[in-house]
Each structure stands twice: as C-alpha cells, then as structure tokens.
Symmetry: none
C-alpha cells in the first residue's frame, strides 16, 4: 500500500475539533473543577487552537452558570468558540416553556449543543414516552434554538446501539434535527461499546443520507475511542468531540491529545490552528496540572515516556537512526526523545548519559559501570528512576570519590512510650574534624535527615538551599513479610533542578540513609560546580 | 448493520493469546521485576488462561536466566506454555555458533520467539548488512531452532513501516521464515505508528500470501494498539501479542485486558480458556500489585471506574435499564457496577459487612463506625484494602475491646556502626503480669515483630501458626519529604485464611506497629473462636 493510497480513506477538508473537557470530561471520578480552573482550562484550549470549547451545562449547577457569566469578561478567546450544553425539551412540554432550553439562551453563547436520545429503546424505557414524541422533542428543540439565532450542534445519544436495534427511528431523529436547522449531527457512542469497523460503517451510512455535517463523540469502554473517532472521520465525519488527556466518566472520552496528532500527522488533515501542534504536549501537561490529575507517562504523543527508550538494543539503533523506534519526530508535538538507563541498557545508553553529564568514561570504566549497575539492579536498585544515584555511580566508575564528609556511623532510636519520641545521631568526619550531632524527628527518616544536616550544615551552608520534596518507599520481595527488602527513593531540589536518589536494604532505615546520603552529596556536588552562588539567597 | 453482518469481519476460529508482559512489558519505565515477581506474574497469567507466556530473553540479563532455570521447578503451569525470546543470528555468523541462539536452547522451553528485522532500511542502516544477508539470517535462525525440535514464533520487527517502503523485501523475510519452518509469522508495528485501516489492509495482503499462522504485535503510539490488534484479527490474524494492563516501553503494548474481552465479547471469538473471562479483572489488579504500578481506574473492562456511575444517575435508573450506560454486563469480566459512594450507600455497605462477620450493630453503632471510618480515611487509612482492621473497627463500634494483651510501650534502636544492629523492646501486660521482651531483626519492623511474638508467644502458643506473608508501604502526601505520612499494610495468615491490617502515621515505625498489632489481634481472635484447634499442628 503506497502512501498515496491513504487518500481513499479520508476526506480532504478540515476537521473541526470540539473539546468537551469542561462538560463531559468533568464527569470523571476524582475530577472536580472550580470556576477559576475552568476558565484557565479554556484559555489553554484556546491557546492550543481547538475550534469549539464546550464550557458546561448552564442551569445544571451553579458553577457552570458562573462560568458562562464570567467567561465573556474574563476570557479573551482568540481562536475557539464557546459552546453551552443542554438537552432537548422535556416530553410533553413546549420548547419555549422548557427551562433547559431557557438556560441555554441565558448562557449567552453563539453556539449550543443539545443532546437527544436517538435510540428507540432509550426513548421508550428511559424517557417513557412515544417514538413520535422522541422525534418531536428533537425537532422542536433545535427549531426553537435556531429561531433564536443560535448555531446548534445535535448530540444523538446512544446513536450506535439505537441504530443497530432500530435504524429507522435513529435516522428519523437525525432527519428531524437536520430539517429543524441543526448545523451538525453528532453521533454518540454513549456507552462506549463500539469497535472501529462498526463506527466506520454506520457513519458512512448516515453520511449517505444526511445533507449536513456529521460529527462523532466516542467513549473508551472498548479501548478504541481514538480509533473509533478516526474511523468516523475516514467515513466522512468532519467534527470530532473528545477531551484533553481522555478525561471523562468510566473509561473516559476520546483522548484529543491522540486524536488531533493522528488526524494531523497520519492522515494529513487540518485540525487545530495551523502551526500549533507543538503546543499539544505542554497544553496537555498544563491542563493535567490545572485539574490536578497525575499525567499518564504512557500517553500517546504527549506522555513523558512516549519517546523514552530503555532497551539497549533500541538505544544503539536510535543513535544510528532516529526514526527506528520513533513513529514521528517528537518535536512535532512538543515532546522530546529521552533515554532511560537500566540493566537492559547497553553501553551506548550509559556512554550517552555520561557524556551529557560531562563525565569522561573510557571503555574499561563503562564496562565496570555496566557490571555494577547490573549487580545493583539485581539486588533491587532501579537506576532509571534515580538520576542522582546514577550520576554518582558513573562518577565513581571514572575514579571519583566524594570528599565532602566521611560517615562514621548513624543510629536511630524510636521510643513509643506516652506519645513517642524519635531521635537520630550521626557521626561524621570533615577534613579531620569529628562531628557528632543528634536531632529529633517525627519519624526515623526525618530524624536522620535533621541530624545529618545538623552535623554538616555549618561547614556546608549551601545545604540550606537543598531540601527534600518527595520520599517514596517500595517493598521488594514483599512475600518475605517484615524481613523483605525495601527500596527508598528521595527527590531533592536546590530550587533550580530536581534530582532523585535511591537506597535498597532489608532495613528501611539503612535504605533511607543511602538515599539521603546520595541526595546530599549530589546537592553539594552541584553547588560546588557553581561557586558564584555561594552566599546568595536560595533561588525560588 | 445487523449483528449477523459481524461475521463478514472476522475468522471463526480461536485466537491464540500470547502474553509478553514479562519480556516486552518489562521494558516500561519504572517497571522492574524481581525473579520472584516474574514467577508470580506467570502464575497469574496461567490462572487467566493465556495460551503463551513469553518469559524473557535468556542471556540478556541474569534475571531472565534465573527465571528460566527456576520456572520448571517452581511453576506448575496448567494452561499456558512458556516461551523464551531471542533474536536471529548476528550478520556474518553461523547459526550454530551464535550465542543468542545458544542461550535460547539453554532456556529449555518447547517454544521460542525470535525477532528479525523485516524492514529493508532497518537491515541496511541499523544492522549495516545486505538485504540478502537479512533474509539469510531469518532463514538460518529459524531453521536451526526448528532442527532442535523447537516451535518457532517469528517476530517480524518493523514489518509495517518496512512493508510500506519495500514490500518485496519484507515479504521475502516472511517467506524465508515460513520455508525454514516457523509456526507463526508475527507482524510487529514496532514503533507503533500505524492506524487500524493500515494494519487491516496489510495483514490481509500478508495473509493472502502465507501458508502459516499470522500474528500481530502492536504498540500504542497512536493510541490505537487495541483497535490495531482487532483490525489484524478481522483480516485473518489468529495470534495476538500484548501485555496485561498495556505495560510496555513508550506508550505500552496492546492492552490484553481490553483486547481479550473485545475479541471474546464483541466478536465472539474464543481467546483464553473457556469460562475464565471473569478472572480478568482480579488478574489485572493482582499483576498491577505484583509489578507495583498503580492500577489505572479508567482502564477499559477492568478499571475501578469502568462501570462507575456519577452524573446524578440514580441507582433505580440503572436498575431499570442495566445497559443504559454499560456496554456489557460487568460481571462477565469480573468487574462490577459501582455508584459513587454516598453516605447512605456507606451505611448499607457497612451494615452488610458487619452482618457477614456476625457482629450486631445497632443504628447508633453504625453511625459511630461511619464517622470514625470517615475521620480515619481522611487521615490516610483505606479500609477497603484492610479487612482485618475494618473488622476490628466494627467490633469496637459494637463495644468490644481486645483483652489478649495490653501494650505499655515499644521502642526500636537501629545502630549503623560496622554492619549495623537493630533491636526492639516491647513491654506488655497480660492478665496483670508485666512482660518485657527484646529481639533483634534485620530491620526495625522485623525486630518489633519478633519482640512482640517473644513477649506474648508463651501465653498464646496459637501465634506460632500465624505469620506475615506480605508487607507494603505507601507514602501519602509524599510532597512533604521525609515528614510525609506513611501507610503500612500487612497481610497475615494462619494457614487457612489471609487477612490484611493497616497503620498510618508520620512515623513509619508507629504505622508498622499499628498494622502488626492489629494483625496479631485478628489472628488471636480467629483462633479463640475455634478452640478445638489449640495444640494441633498448624495447617498448611
């Protein structure tokens, strides 16, 4: 199949991207947005350049009302159009008397999106009304909103299930919306159960019988939301709904951060504003931050691991041939290539890493480093997640030894009588001088950290700017109960960069100490390489 | 489109599921498995009933060698066949002299999978050899392995890119493997850049020119790995490779926990052992636990949120029409419908739980238990995963107090001078008698466990049958560094059942103590309810 054959599979025109993160996306468990959050997410979406932003359901909750009332003053959208969401009128009510439609008018947007049940069984059982009334609800509601000068997107809920069971009714609902003046018929796989071949075929059949734009709205319940959206486009849909990062109820909505690059880069279709695709990674991460969901490092295109390479086999090949294991140039989507060091890594990864750190390793040193890395990883160390400890290992392989301080011993006492008291004592030697320091803490690791800082802090005031930002513990071989081996990871920062160090031991105190010790050495090492900073206030 | 039309789209026969979690899946950043972990993952995969388990790459690292040497003795696989992975011989080498192939023989499996570059540009640029040699490497390697009596899966790396650029070469490689006696031609979308329509078309073209089984191996770089695998099956592939939970390098491999239910439930194709699909959710969660990756609640079919309903949807609405927002019956995959927990739902759940344990709670006691549960969960306790601690909380809400022993105090000392020494002292009162016991351990928790057993073990000999089987630590609010709060979970067994207890504190020693203390009390409680067992040898 030559690439020119791609043309058989898709339309030539632009695809309208309709983001529903602020409406359908916010149905996700654990995702709760303030109005300020919503405004900031909308700014990001406009910055990315999606055509439509569905902002919420006016009347459904006070937050969404506030969003639509503040948006005109506080949002200065350059490329996106704001859309308010609602439903068709209630059964038996007149459109002009229906409060759902009234709220839509009050939202003050130029475009609205209304949802209508387009499955016969849903109309009968969930709405408990007749099929005739189901069709009339669609017609009346669209017609009323169009008469008020609004552009109307028509979300046909449960469309695919409905079509498979009773295509005649589902098509009648679409026909009614089209005749009433809707601009787009959006076919929704509401419970997310479809596969791409079904979506492709049904969208094609609808397209053949409709005179207006057809859109698609997919959920990821079969793991195919992205592929389903693409299949719809290849069958003629030119409007795609989804959410940034695949947020949404249950398994989420179609992930626009995958759909947009797939359409743009794989099918060469115009989607967001030209020249902005490279914004998609930062926008994805920024929105994850705003909605306070941890970003998924495995996410296609935008994930931190999307272009990360581990296996030694791959890394040496990549050095020779960029596209060997990268399906696109990561910079097209604002992401970058990253190499990960682990026991599986070959010489080339380690050599690259050392070079990046300015450490010169000869062939013998690289062999020693690889051997040590493999031995340590076999014990449970995991260097790909601990850049700080890796740097120290590489430096040591090159013959370096830290000369900041020498640890003679440390001990911790945790006494749980009446509330408890935990203290640690650290004994170090610095330039021949022996220093003993004791400190208390709210746990053994905290006490050790305090005691070490107390012992060496006077001699190394730059330590004042270095602090721990994260502490993680994983029990390895946990089936051995309390005698299991433990891996501790510590993230530290000097206000400019963050580094991770690691310790492994059957004794969690020993493992924590190794990670603490490495953390401090890495920090002092970095500080010693920029002496100009000494005496200055800490950054940040 | 009627459902009978589905038949056009797929083969009628069974699809072989080939799991590569232990090989390709372990390329995922942050995923590092010990040999014990790997053995336990393999047990889970066998329990699920996949046909093939790719265990690793013998010779590539000591872990995988150890895995294959221990597997025959320690794994008792009932349904799955273990497969060793390797590559074709090196350019210019004889197959019988190549150490990669030698390692494959040494692994001692009946089946092997070897990877060969099937893209002309990769052979020229990455292998730096001729196309003739590329084909010969495939032929010689397969032929050598087949001559040793092995069943050979042939992974055609970079197949789709290669085919689009130079189909003649890619097909020549497949032909060579087929003629040399490979059992299956597995087409790999190595850099994951394909879309379903491409996979479907190319697999169809290969299928038309091959006389043996065709397989598919997809990566998720376009967000389409599941859909791509399905497209391949619909074009005639009958062997599907992937990983549990979509583990794998970059964006991951095809997620088998979605592919298997899609094939089984949507296309009605036999996949895993009959009757075992309902094991897929527990197996997915169990493996996530083993590899210590937080499970993705949005995961199709198996995610905690896959059938969770928010959005003001009433229980009665779903009860009226189960399939309104559920594309399948969640019980088919061992998952369940979940409503976002309200206080009322909490009450009934708790009442049910108490009833199950034979604890009678009046309305006031239930209210007290709910309040306490909420307060503790706010602090970081998580009763859903700690049945033992929940039982104690419910018993206490009913007015019960444990009378086995009273803890006066405990302390731990961990001294790291010359190798280190950790000891714990526990002071308890039993029936008026004060007992002090000190014990050493290889870490603070192990020492505490030993000291507690020493202090009360004489009085409660049944403790001899109770031991810890798992110990897990999670740092909560980890951004507070070493002063973060810590949650400890301990699994214990008396040889008959397993229970989980929990502790939360800023001090990991305090948190571990709580979990230990609860563990022992639960064990003594259970033993006291079956006095006939006293004096008998431990079960198991």
């Amino acid at each position: 199949m030559s690439s020119s054959r791609l043309e058989e599979y898709g339309p030539a025109g632009a695809i309208d991207i309709f983001d529903t993160t602020l409406r359908d996306g916010s149905q996700q468990e654990g995702l709760s947005l303030t109005v300020d959050d919503k405004l900031r997410v909308a700014e990001q979406l406009d910055h990315l350049g999606v055509k439509f932003i569905e902002g919420g359901w006016p009347g459904a909750n006070p937050k969404d009302d506030e969003f639509f009332s503040r948006a005109p003053n506080e949002l200065n959208l350059q490329t996106s159009t704001l859309v308010a969401f609602g439903s068709t009128r209630h059964p038996g009510k007149k459109a002009e008397d229906d409060e759902v439609l009234r709220h839509l008018l009050d939202a003050g947007t130029e475009s609205v999106c209304i949802v209508a049940k387009s499955s016969a069984i849903q109309v009968r059982k969930a709405l408990r009304t007749t099929l005739e009334e189901g069709v009339a609800m669609a017609y009346d509601s669209v017609s009323f909103l169009v008469s008020k000068g609004l552009k109307v997107f028509f979300d046909a809920e449960h469309f695919f299930d409905g079509y498979l069971a009773n295509a005649k009714f589902s098509m009648a609902v679409l026909k009614a919306a089209e005749e009433a003046g809707a601009s787009t018929l959006v076919l929704c796989d509401t419970n997310g159960g479809m596969l791409p071949f079904q979506i492709g075929q049904i969208v094609g059949e609808v397209k053949a019988h409709s005179g207006i734009q057809v859109g698609i709205h997919c959920h990821n319940d079969t793991g195919c939301a992205v592929a389903n959206s693409i299949a719809a486009v290849q069958s003629g849909a030119t409007h795609v709904q989804g959410c940034v990062n695949g947020y949404g109820e249950r398994t989420g909505n179609a992930d626009l951060t995958a759909v947009i690059p797939d359409l743009s880069l794989k099918l060469n279709l115009p989607t967001i504003e030209p020249g902005r695709l490279e914004r998609i990674t930062p926008v994805s991460h920024h929105i994850a931050e705003l909605v306070n969901m941890p970003p998924d490092s495995q996410q296609p295109y935008v994930g931190a691991a999307a272009f990360a390479h581990k296996a030694g086999l791959h890394t040496s090949a990549i050095a020779r041939m960029r596209n060997a294991y990268e399906h696109i140039d990561p910079e097209l989507v604002g992401n970058g290539t990253r190499f990960i060091v682990s026991e599986m890594a070959g010489r080339s990864t380690l050599a690259l890493q050392a070079e990046r750190l300015g450490i010169s390793l000869d062939s013998g040193a690289i062999s020693r480093a690889i051997q040590q890395l493999k031995d340590l990883e076999h014990q449970g160390y995991h260097f790909e997640v601990a850049d700080g400890s890796l740097e120290l290992l590489l430096r040591r392989a090159a013959g370096w030894q830290q000369s900041f301080y020498h640890v003679e011993s440390y001990r911790v006492m945790s006494d749980h009588t009446d509330g408890g008291n935990t203290e640690a004592t650290v004994k170090v030697v610095i330039a021949g001088e022996r220093i003993i320091a004791t400190a208390e803490g709210n746990g053994p690791v905290n006490a050790l950290d305090s005691a070490l800082r107390k012992a060496i802090g006077e001699r190394y005031p730059e330590l004042h700017c270095i602090h721990l930002v994260d502490y993680r513990v994983r029990v390895l071989n946990s089936a051995n109960g309390t005698a299991s081996s433990t891996r501790v990871l510590i993230d530290s920062t000097d206000g400019e960069r963050v580094w991770t160090t690691m310790g492994v031991s059957e004794n969690i105190i020993e493992a924590s100490w190794q990670a603490l010790d490495d953390s401090v050495v890495c920090g002092l090492l970095a500080a010693s390489e920029k002496p100009a900073a000494a005496g200055k206030p800490c950054p940040d």
